[in-house]
Amino acid sequence: MKFPGSVLVSLFLFVGETGTALYLSSTYRSAGDRIWQALTLLFALLPCVLVQFNLVFIHRDVSRDRPLVLLLHILQLGPIVRCVEVFYIYFHAGRFEEPYVSITKKRQMPKDGHSEEVEKEVGQAEGKLFTHRSAFSRASVIQAFLGSAPQLTLQLYICVLQQEITAARGIFMVLSLLSIVYGALRCNILAIKIKYDDYDVSVKAAAYLCIFLWRSFEIATRVVVLVLFSSVLQIWVLPVLVWLGLNAFLFWWYYRVYDVPVKYHYSRKLLGSALAWARAPAACLNFNCLLILLPVCRNLLSFLRGSSACCSTRIRRQLDRNLTFHKMVAWMIALHTAIHTIAHLFNVERCVDGRVEAKGTIQAALSDLGDKTGETYLNFVRKKIPNPEGGLYVAFTYLAGLSGVIITLALILIITSSTKTIRRSYFEVFWYTHHLFVVFFIGLVIHGAGRIVRGQTDESLKEHNPHTCEKNFTQWGKISSCPIPQFAGNPPMVVNHPFKTFELQMMKKGFKMEVGQYIFVQCPTVSHLEWHPFTLTSAPEEDYFSIHIRIVGDWTEGVFNACGCDKQEFQEAWKLPKILVDGPFGTASEDVFSYETVMLVGAGIGVTPFASVLKSVWYKYCNDATSLRLKKIYFYWLCRDTHAFEWFADLLQSLENQMQERDNAQFLSYNIYLTGWDESQATHFTVHHDEEQRCD
């Protein structure tokens, strides 16, 4: 059995580092450097706690009745007690007979291409020692990377700032460096052992020495460079770099949000990349306009300056640079405004051209969507006025255009009156013109309220794949594989269905549902006391959950009016009332996936859970048809007439179409029994029964 030397090394480094850290922090405290003290303690105690957790976790002996060990762990003395255990096991190993041995099979390292397998007996003591060694090595790694690395950087930084290396700090830095090197070394060895796990690997001493030297030089140089760089760096450069980085990130991210997903494929066909070029600076503008007012809030700055508990004086002195930061953010706003405006010039031009000029192209087809009833529009320009008047008309009649022009004018006036000449000579002109920022912010807030940017809805994406369907744009709606695409502004909330039914689509973080469950809904604007149950009609696979509400009484009518469904135009999301949701609660329909053949019977309003079931079945079928246990669905629907459930009829029809396309028309067979017929309807159907009409 190998002497557990690594355990001793780990323990020595751990104890040495923690002890020195505590001593150093007490010297910082007496010198009054609270921040240094706090940071030193943090980097010493955090890995300490993590090491205790690690040791306890690996040994898993908390539940074994050893309260003393647990207590010592809590007192942060875990490594010491474990080391004692290790040596106890080591020295008592040969004395007793092992109750059992385990047999390991390892291959020898290949010689001449040939490696043989060797069996070895591993006694219980050796196995325990192995566990201890690996626990300590893991503890060393945690200590090294989470504790010693930041600790070394910090102490070296302090040395550079104070221009001297005290003895305690010097010893501490050496210990930290050794600890990091040891941790890195253990990582290396672990990597080798994992890679050659089948083999019996023994790492020679020379290898250890090589790795040790390599790592020590590598880490030492890197830490020195890092510390020297950060000590030269003016502290104010950091927030500026962070701010620039955030700007760049937001620009890139939102560019991709509008340039990549298939949801905006048709928007991009209409507008080109100008859509993404307009939305990316819009996101940056949001961010910068958030920041611009902060550096000039005098009361806030006074408060921050006064609160000495907050930060060191060096950091608080950066508050003196508030005007510089304000100007930097202002120039960034001006830049992004320029990009945004120019991109939208292209957008408006293309939208109007698509509506008027383009004939027979896909842009024309896309722009024509929305002319017929039942279609949703993609091109927000509906009037056919040609450019250049068309562009002007759009800019001044739409809220986004008008507010955009006004706030850009306000911004330009603010900037021209802020030049140094004007500021130095005529301060009042600068000061009072700057108050146009109120106009700017009001305009900015309402600028996007129209939700002009449209993307294809998720439902439409399921039926109509833009990549395949874009080529045959002349036949949308006529062929079953490419129905007319539907669009909505972000996000769709209330969808009106015919015959006094409306659908409420909602999203809530963390909401999980199963098929056919129901929720209780309250709408405080209508009534504070009433909670009504509604079955969820969306499938769990969708990213929103929806309920279909039919207007039968005063509460549903109240919600209908509150959601503005009676109005013709699209409702802005911020106008919709607050809705409280309780649930979801379970019902019997969750078992539908456990059987091969199911029969679903729904009567009247009871059909709603099956909307969820059928949609979910559809999603699962699309995902992986073979893993679905369900092979056949018999669906029976009884209702007075289909008027109340037109939306469900549409769903059934689209499902049937999809099934036919996938050559599995036998999957779903549904029978509808209408109990509310009268003679005239019967005659009507008899006359027209040859036509393809299913549900009136």
């Binding site: 010039l345 051209d353 009156s417 000579s425």
Partner: protein, 186 residues
């Protein structure tokens, strides 16, 4: 601070409008939007406005910071005399220049800004302001000691008191000036 000279702000605003006109015009011409001839006009008008507004006028009170390199344009603008000196003319000129650019969406922002500049110039003109060129003054060497010291001291230290030191410069025994010293005209 005193009275505000509106022409200073109008000048900044007009310069900015010129730049915006040029930008909008370039975008529309490059992308060949419908009605791009208006944009071509806007580019020309924008350049003209920039050149006209670049030289800052002289303030009545206090010193004026020149814009970098403005003296060449000052010479040109000065030539037109009363046309460029009077701010009523400038106000009407800017208003007239702005109008044709208003027919295109790309340049309408320039129109609005130039219109505002024109309005501020009108206000300046009503207050009786005028554009005066900033003249170049010849370089003045600052006089040291009020003109009493014209020559370096004739004798090296230690020097005898002043009244015994009054010797004509030509008879200096101890020092010869390696570089001839000329007496400056003021």
């Amino acid at each position: 601070m005193g009275r505000i000279e509106w022409a200073m702000w109008a000048n900044e605003q007009a310069l900015a409008s010129g730049l915006i006109l040029v930008t909008g015009g370039v975008v529309a011409v490059a992308a060949q939007f419908k009605g791009w001839p208006f944009a071509a006009y806007a580019i020309a008008a924008g350049v003209f406005v920039c050149l006209l507004e670049y030289p800052r006028g002289k303030r009545k009170k206090g010193s004026t910071m020149e814009r970098c390199g403005q003296k060449y344009l000052t010479a040109v603008v000065k030539v037109f005399g009363p046309i460029t000196r009077n701010y009523y003319v400038r106000a009407i000129l800017h208003a007239a220049l702005a109008v044709p650019a208003g027919f295109l969406l790309s340049t309408i922002l320039g129109t609005a800004c130039l219109g505002i500049a024109s309005a501020i110039y009108l206000l300046a003109a009503i207050r009786g302001e005028e554009w005066n060129p900033i003249e170049q003054k010849p370089q003045e060497r600052p006089q040291v000691g009020g003109g009493t010291i014209k020559q370096p001291p004739a004798m090296p230290p230690p020097r005898p008191p002043a009244d015994t030191r009054k010797k004509p410069p030509a008879e200096v025994a101890g020092q010869e000036n390696p570089i001839p010293v000329t007496i400056e005209a003021e």
